[in-house]
Structure formats: structure tokens, C-alpha cells
């Protein structure tokens, strides 16, 4: 609690005690009035001062002014008629309690949310002649070797020079499984080194490191205002003046009408009702709870490794009806793998070994995937003459035997009839010594959670899922079928993808959002064109962070539905708060006008609604069970 808040708390306590004490003091008349001015002054002096300054600056719809008018009016009625001053002081007291609570809650949640994203490193260790010196990460040049001890944050992006360790990336990705690194691996700032000492050669200055980019994004996230926030700002702009004029009318019109009808005018009664109106006129509960809800929602999402670039995007996310996926890198791993071997007369191992030896000289992704499947060192002395037949495959001499590995064209050109494969993917046929030995199926591997992620999307209210891919139709159809995707388009060039998304944008029902999910590598134009661009696996990919509106820090497709559920929860809270705040104010205004509500009720309603709305807003922060 800051000094300012503490001072306020003391003022509130003193006033409350005085108010209770004065209740039992048996004085009356002007002495009583003067006695009550003491607590009134203690609790309200700053409001009165601000109101006065407001008048000088011609800001009459300022809530300080309204509170000042309402309470002074109530004191005047007390002095002239009822002798009740408690009400005026109490109204001021509760108003201040509300303000205090608001500052405290907002400050607290702001700190909570910043703590969630507590990834800013304080220092970097530089090794100078065996001595570690701590320097500001800002001062470390690219290419410097820094030392990160266990328990420390990695301050800058870089490559591990030496040392092995596990990294805790949860602050960045929300993923609790540690990630292992060894020399040669890239490493991003913001992770926490858990076990071993790492020496890292930096590849970026601090300002461009992942941690700076993420922090920048989070800090500026709530600046993009959503439609609901703009609605509230506009609402507040006319609400207060409207209520003030309503109050004026209430104070003047009914008594005049009564006079005309030759009833007693009852001025003080109607003025009192008007003052009650003024107490209700402060829109602060409403205005505070909406941005706070969004802020908490964005903070909660950040904790789960989902960065949302603004409240407007959070709102958009909640209305997502169609999710369009780029296949490679989002639904699939984006790396090729040996998935199967068919019609082989040899052992699986032997087949892969021959294939790996045959492809040992190539750097083609297919060759790389075969060598990876073999995974052991190759005895290159077994390989003799290598003949590459471009676009078809290779013919290699292994252990003195001719081994052919390639497509069916290669087989036929060697006079061997291959067995056609019905699986999707790239097929590598093998022949050893002129004899067909079967084929290896290589394809991009679908992420383990992809099917579950699509089902989860359906559950969270997305009614259409679409997949776009540059791959062949057979592969696309198989993946779409397996994952339960509604619609797919294959053999697309990057510009075709933009076209397809535009087509969907024109066909979508009004008020619905078409989201595009990509890995940000070559789909930046589509990410920008869609209503909402979601980039996956963005840790370390700047292009994705730049182009997307929502950034998933790791590449788990389950995060998409989680993001949508977080957004839905947050928007539900926003609407609850809007309805609650406007509803209670409206009811109080009606009751006040009818003379059924006094100032006590008005101020309780005001403060009570605000407390409820703020507490409700903070619920948006809790997202772990969504």
C-alpha cells in the first residue's frame, strides 16, 4: 500500500470513528452542524479542493464537483430543515472508501499481472579472465560470451557454446516441461537455467532479444481498445451530463408543477431527490471494470503462453467462427519423418540402413529424414560410386552391390517394376542388386495433439475448420480426414492462400471472425489479411511476432482453443460488468426519482457495484483450468 493510500485509510478510519461518536453527542442547532463539519472536512477536503479547481477549469461534470454539490446540498437541507448531517458525511465517506478500494485493487492487479510476466533479466555475467562480472544486459554486444549459472535467467538470445542444462521456459510459453539444451543449440532469453552452467555466445543485442520483444508486446497490449471499451468511453461521455440535467429537472420541475396545481411545492424533498441523483451519476465503476477485465484477461493469457496484442484482438478471438490452418508447421511438425516401410523383404533396420547409405551424400530434406531415422553413424567405406539422377533418385554402389533409391520413374528406367503405394507422402522405392525390395514412406508428421486440438476448437464454439496447404491433394485429404477438418484446399501457392482467406471473409456471416493460424514463416501476408492472425511456435521467430495479432509462444495446437476459451470468459465478464453496472445505476436512478432511495442507498449502490465489478474483472486472470 502506497503512502497516498495509507493516508486515505487513516482519514477514513478517523471519520468513521467521529461519525459514530457524534451520533451520541447530545448537542443540537448550529453547534451540531459545526461539529459535523469536522469529519466532513477531514474526509472531503480534497474532493472540495478538486471540485473548486474543476470549476475554475470549467469542468462541471467532474465527479468531484458532483460529490461536492450533493454533499453540500445535503448539509444545507440538514441545516435548514431536518438537522441530519450524518448522511452527507457518510456519503462522502463511502465515496472515499470506494475510491480507496479502486486504487488498491487496480494497483494490486497491475502488479500481479506484471509479476506473471516477470521475465526481465537484471544482469548478464561476462567472463573476464576467469572472473565473472555482472553487467547490464543492455551493454552486451552481439558475439559476446556470457555465463548463465543455474537459477539465473538467460538474459540474451544466443547459441550455447559449452555446457548442458535444462531450461524452464514456463514464463515464456506456459509449458511446464523443461527443455534440454546442449552445445550448438539456440537459446532464447527469458528462460531460466535450471541445472548446469551454460556459456552462451549472444546473437542479438538486448533490445532485439526475445525477452524485450515479449515485454514490449505485453506492456502495450491493452492500448488497442476493443469495441466494448470504446462503447464505455462514449457512454460515460453522455451519461454524466444526462444525469446532471436529469437532477436539475427533478429539483425544479415537480415543485413548479405542484405550485401550479396549488399544492405545497415541497422544495427540499425534490432537491434531496435530485442530490441523490447526483451521487449516482459517477460512472467510475463502469469505466474502471471494463479495461481491468481486459487487462486481466490478457495477463492470464500471457501466463499461459498466449500473447494477445490488444483488447480488440481479445474481443475478436471470442467471436471466432472459422479457423483456417496452414498445414505445415501448425497441424504438422513441419519436419519429414519416415513413417512406414512397405513390401519389404528385408528387416526394417537393414532397409533404412541401405537407404541412409544411398542418400548419405545428399542434403535434400528427404535424405536428411532417412538419415535421421537410421540415427547411427554410417560406415562410409561401404559406399562406392554414387550416381545422382536428378529429380528421380540415386543409384549407389554399396558393398559392391548396385542399390537404387528413388521414385517409380527411376525404378522403371532400371527395368524394375515398383509396387505403387496408396499411402500419402513421399515414396522412396528401393532396389538392391536389380531386385525390388519395397518402399519407404516419408511424410510430414502430424502433431500428436492436432486431432484433439481440432475437437477442442469445435467444443469451444468454432463451427468451421479449414486447412490450406501447398502439398498435394492426397496428402491434404488424408490429413484433413484424420484430424476431422471440415474443408481443405491443396496445391496452393502463398498468394492463393491469401485469395482463399479473402473468399472466406466475403462469405462469412456478419459479426463472425475468420482466424488464420500459421507458423509465420511464409504466411505473413495471410496472417495480416485474416480478421485475426494467430502465429504458432513464435519463440524466436520475429516475423511471426510482428505479423500476428495473437502469438502462441510454443507450437502446441491445443493453445488455440485455450486462447478462444480465455477470450470468451473474459468477454463474458466484460458483459456481466456492463449489465451489472448500468443495470444497478438505472434501478437506483428510478428509485431515487420516485423518492424510494435515499443517498445512503445511492452511495452503497455505487461503491458496491464497483467492488463487485472489480472482483469480477479479476476473475479473468484465472485461466489455468480453461
Amino acid at each position: 500500500m502506497t503512502k497516498k493510500l495509507k493516508k486515505m485509510l487513516i482519514r477514513i478510519i478517523v471519520t468513521a470513528v467521529l461519525l459514530v461518536a457524534l451520533h451520541f453527542v447530545p448537542v443540537s442547532g448550529i453547534a451540531r452542524f459545526l461539529l459535523y463539519l469536522i469529519p466532513y472536512g477531514i474526509i472531503g477536503y480534497d474532493i472540495l479542493r478538486k471540485a473548486w479547481r474543476g470549476i475554475l477549469n470549467r469542468q462541471v461534470f467532474d465527479e468531484n464537483f458532483l460529490m461536492a454539490v450533493a454533499t453540500i446540498g445535503a448539509l444545507a437541507i440538514g441545516l435548514l430543515k431536518t438537522g441530519d448531517y450524518e448522511e452527507s458525511v457518510a456519503v462522502m465517506l463511502f465515496y472515499q472508501v470506494g475510491e480507496l478500494f479502486q486504487s488498491y485493487a487496480v494497483g494490486k492487479s497491475r502488479r500481479n499481472i506484471s509479476e506473471l510476466m516477470d521475465i526481465r533479466p537484471d544482469y548478464a555475467n561476462i567472463d573476464t579472465n576467469g572472473q565473472l562480472t555482472r553487467v547490464d544486459p543492455d551493454e552486451v554486444a552481439v558475439g559476446t560470451v556470457i555465463v548463465v549459472n543455474p537459477g539465473e535467467k538467460v538474459p540474451l538470445d544466443g547459441i550455447v557454446e559449452s555446457g548442458e542444462s535444462s531450461l524452464n521456459t514456463s514464463a515464456l510459453t506456459g509449458e511446464s516441461l523443461p527443455r534440454d539444451v546442449k552445445p550448438g543449440d539456440g537459446i532464447v532469453s527469458g528462460c531460466i537455467n535450471m541445472s548446469g552452467v551454460l556459456r552462451i555466445r549472444t546473437t542479438r543485442v538486448f533490445g532485439e532479444s526475445t525477452v524485450s520483444k515479449v515485454l514490449d508486446l505485453v506492456e502495450n497490449a491493452s492500448s488497442r481498445k476493443s469495441r466494448s471499451e470504446n462503447f464505455i468511453s462514449r457512454f460515460a461521455r453522455w451519461y454524466t451530463p444526462a444525469v446532471v440535467f436529469g437532477a436539475l429537472a427533478l429539483a425544479v420541475l415537480p415543485p413548479l408543477v405542484r405550485l401550479l396545481l396549488s399544492f405545497p411545492p415541497e422544495w427540499s424533498e425534490w432537491v434531496y431527490r435530485a442530490l441523490t441523483f447526483l451521487v449516482i451519476s459517477c460512472p467510475c465503476a463502469l469505466v474502471i471494470s471494463i479495461p481491468l477485465s481486459f487487462f486481466a484477461g490478457i495477463g492470464g493469457a500471457g501466463k499461459a503462453g498466449i500473447l494477445i496484442k490488444g483488447s480488440n484482438w481479445l474481443e475478436a478471438l471470442s467471436k471466432t467462427g472459422t479457423v483456417v490452418f496452414d498445414k505445415t508447421g501448425t497441424l504438422t511438425m513441419g519436419v519429414f519423418d519416415v513413417v512406414d516401410i512397405h513390401h519389404s523383404e528385408l528387416e526394417r533396420e537393414t532397409m533404412i540402413e541401405y537407404a541412409a547409405l544411398a542418400e548419405s551424400a545428399s542434403s535434400h530434406p528427404i535424405a536428411v529424414s532417412i538419415r535421421k531415422a537410421w540415427g547411427k553413424p554410417l560406415d562410409m567405406s561401404r559406399v562406392g560410386k554414387v550416381e545422382e539422377i536428378s529429380g528421380n533418385g540415386v543409384v549407389v554402389e554399396i558393398d559392391g552391390q548396385e542399390v537404387a533409391a528413388g521414385n517409380s520413374r527411376l525404378m522403371r528406367s532400371l527395368g524394375i517394376e515398383p509396387i505403387e503405394c496408396h499411402s500419402t507422402g513421399t515414396i522412396v522405392h528401393m532396389a538392391i542388386g536389380g531386385h525390388y525390395t519395397g518402399h519407404i514412406v516419408i511424410s510430414d508428421v502430424v502433431k500428436p495433439d492436432a486431432a484433439k486440438a481440432i475437437a477442442a476448437l469445435k467444443q469451444s464454439g468454432v463451427h468451421q475448420t479449414v486447412m490450406l496447404t501447398g502439398d498435394g491433394k492426397a496428402v491434404a485429404a488424408e490429413v484433413a480426414e484424420r484430424l476431422g477438418i471440415d474443408q481443405f484446399w491443396s496445391e496452393l501457392l502463398p498468394e492463393d492462400k491469401v485469395e482463399k482467406v479473402e473468399e472466406m471473409l466475403t462469405r462469412k456471416p456478419a459479426g463472425e471472425i475468420v482466424a488464420f493460424v500459421g507458423d509465420g514463416i511464409n504466411d505473413a501476408p495471410v496472417l495480416t489479411r485474416a480478421d485475426l492472425g494467430i502465429a504458432m511456435g513464435a519463440l524466436g521467430s520475429d516475423a511471426a511476432i510482428e505479423a500476428a495479432d495473437v502469438v502462441l509462444m510454443d507450437d502446441d495446437p491445443m493453445k488455440i482453443s485455450k486462447a478462444i476459451r480465455i477470450a470468451r470468459k473474459c468477454m463474458r465478464i466484460v458483459y456481466e460488468n456492463i449489465v451489472l453496472a448500468i443495470g444497478v445505476k438505472a434501478v437506483c436512478l428510478v428509485l431515487g426519482a420516485l423518492g424510494l432511495a435515499n443517498m445512503w442507498l445511492a452511495v452503497f449502490a455505487d461503491v458496491g457495484v464497483m467492488i463487485l465489478a472489480v472482483l469480477n474483472a479479476i476473475r479473468a486472470l484465472f485461466v489455468s483450468r480453461l
Binding site: 478538486k50 469542468q59 491493452s222 469505466v287
Partner: protein, 72 residues
Amino acid sequence: MKKTYRIEVDCANCANKMEEAAGKIPGIADVTVNFMTQKMIVDFADGADADTVMKQVVKACKKVEDDCEIYL
């Protein structure tokens, strides 16, 4: 040209009023006051001098909300 300034303001509605007041200053293309992060993000119009414009902004904001601070 976009610049971010740290501000101090106590209530959300006051932040709205500051945003409105600052938006009317010539030389400002767009301005957002972020109550939650206590920041003012100003997008200056082409050719505007940030310092002179910001002086006006401070004046205008002080007028609508006496209690606010803008750290230039």
C-alpha cells in the same frame, strides 16, 4: 512518429477525459491513454514537434484532470 509517455492518473474516467482532451491538440494524429499500464501513447502528425505539442497536451490534461502527471 509514435512515442510513449509514463503518466500518473487515479481514475479510469479521468484517463478517458485526458485522452479526449489530448486528441484535440493540433499536431496529434492519434493518442491512447492506457489507464491500466499508466501510459500515454502519442502518435504525432507529420512535421509536428513532439516537445511543443506535448507541452500543450500537458496543459490540456491538467485542465480536465488536475491530479494527473505526464512525465515527458
